[in-house]
Subunit: 176 residues, 2 copies
DNA sequence: AGGTGCATGTAAATAGTTACATGATTAA
DNA sequence: TTAATCATGTAACTATTTACATGCACCT
């Protein structure tokens, strides 16, 4: 399960609660990893049972209690082991491209909507990455990952800008 | 289920068996869609039950029989409807980038191996896309999708080439 | 009065992969 | 003889999302 490894990895950067891990992952790795509470909380429970993390309940004023997790030495080792042996795939899953493949079945309006929306999303991601990248305390590996995201997203936006007209005009003229 | 829509879409390009659909999808959409028999065959059965496809058993000499599916008018409508209303997300899921984020925990050899392997995979994809793109009978939408893949993959390879040294040398010196 | 953020968790549903089972033909 | 291609399918498993349940504090 990648979720467990991801939790260990997040905790290697500092102690955190499940809630905080989710936010952190979304912020820092959001452009290539998905997370949800439904996978994080069970993962943390399992890790605790396996002795890979420890947990301290922390009371807060004006906020609910939280469970702050931290890596044990065994957890730190497990993380290293996971990173050495887990798969290294880079996958794209795109309903966006899939739909565009069948542009000849769709009205130009729908095509334009899809393209515009996607460019917006890409640009939001780009803005976030820029904001994130001009901090200085960022480790080299994370800079690389963020820069990678920036590079391919920039290429994606440029490509759409230069070619979207072809797709839109290939749409299906007749409306129901 | 995206698999069903994908089957309908594949069949809109011509009648085919489950086996043929898988090959076709891998070839044409492989860089942004995954498929396996375990999802295709059940999907085709369901589609048949719903009356969205028809099926003819075809005997072949020197090969096993096959079940050739074709769209019914209802299936063609369903496809259009799916394409109009389904989600349009473009997602990247990358263990590759995830691992590199923690380069400081890994030996340079592992980092170099991962990077080299990924560049190779990208270049294989690029070769396939090139071969695929210089056909002439390809619909506009598919050209767009293939070109998109080409654009971001090229950017990815260039980025890795230009920045990999930083990551590798940020690796963990001490070996166990 | 209503929305957002903080915070944890579970259950059901969804989706999909992997491995297995079968078996003929053809090329190296 | 060994592997690959052709061909269909199921069952068990893995993983993950979605929706739900709860509840206080803060801002508008």
């Amino acid at each position: 399960m990648l979720t467990k490894t991801m939790c260990l990895a997040a905790l290697s950067l500092g102690d955190a609660s499940g809630y905080e891990i989710k936010k952190m992952v979304e912020e820092s790795f959001g452009h290539f990893l998905a997370v949800s509470y439904g996978s994080i909380y069970p993962a943390l429970s399992d890790l605790k049972e396996q002795g890979l993390v420890e947990c301290t309940e922390v009371s807060q004023e004006a906020k609910p209690d939280k469970k702050v997790y931290s890596l044990t030495p065994a957890g730190r080792e497990k993380l290293q082991d996971d990173l050495m042996h887990c798969r290294t795939e880079h996958k794209v899953r795109s309903e966006f491209l899939f739909i565009l493949c069948f542009s000849h079945l769709l009205p130009p309006e729908r095509l334009e909507e899809i393209l515009t929306l996607q460019v917006e999303k890409f640009e939001q991601g780009l803005a976030k990455a820029a904001h994130w990248l001009n901090r200085e305390d960022v480790p080299e590996g994370m800079k690389f990952a963020a820069g990678f995201g920036q590079a391919i997203t920039t290429a994606a936006v440029r490509y759409i800008r230069e070619h979207q007209q072809n797709v839109v005009s290939s749409g299906d003229g007749k409306e129901k």
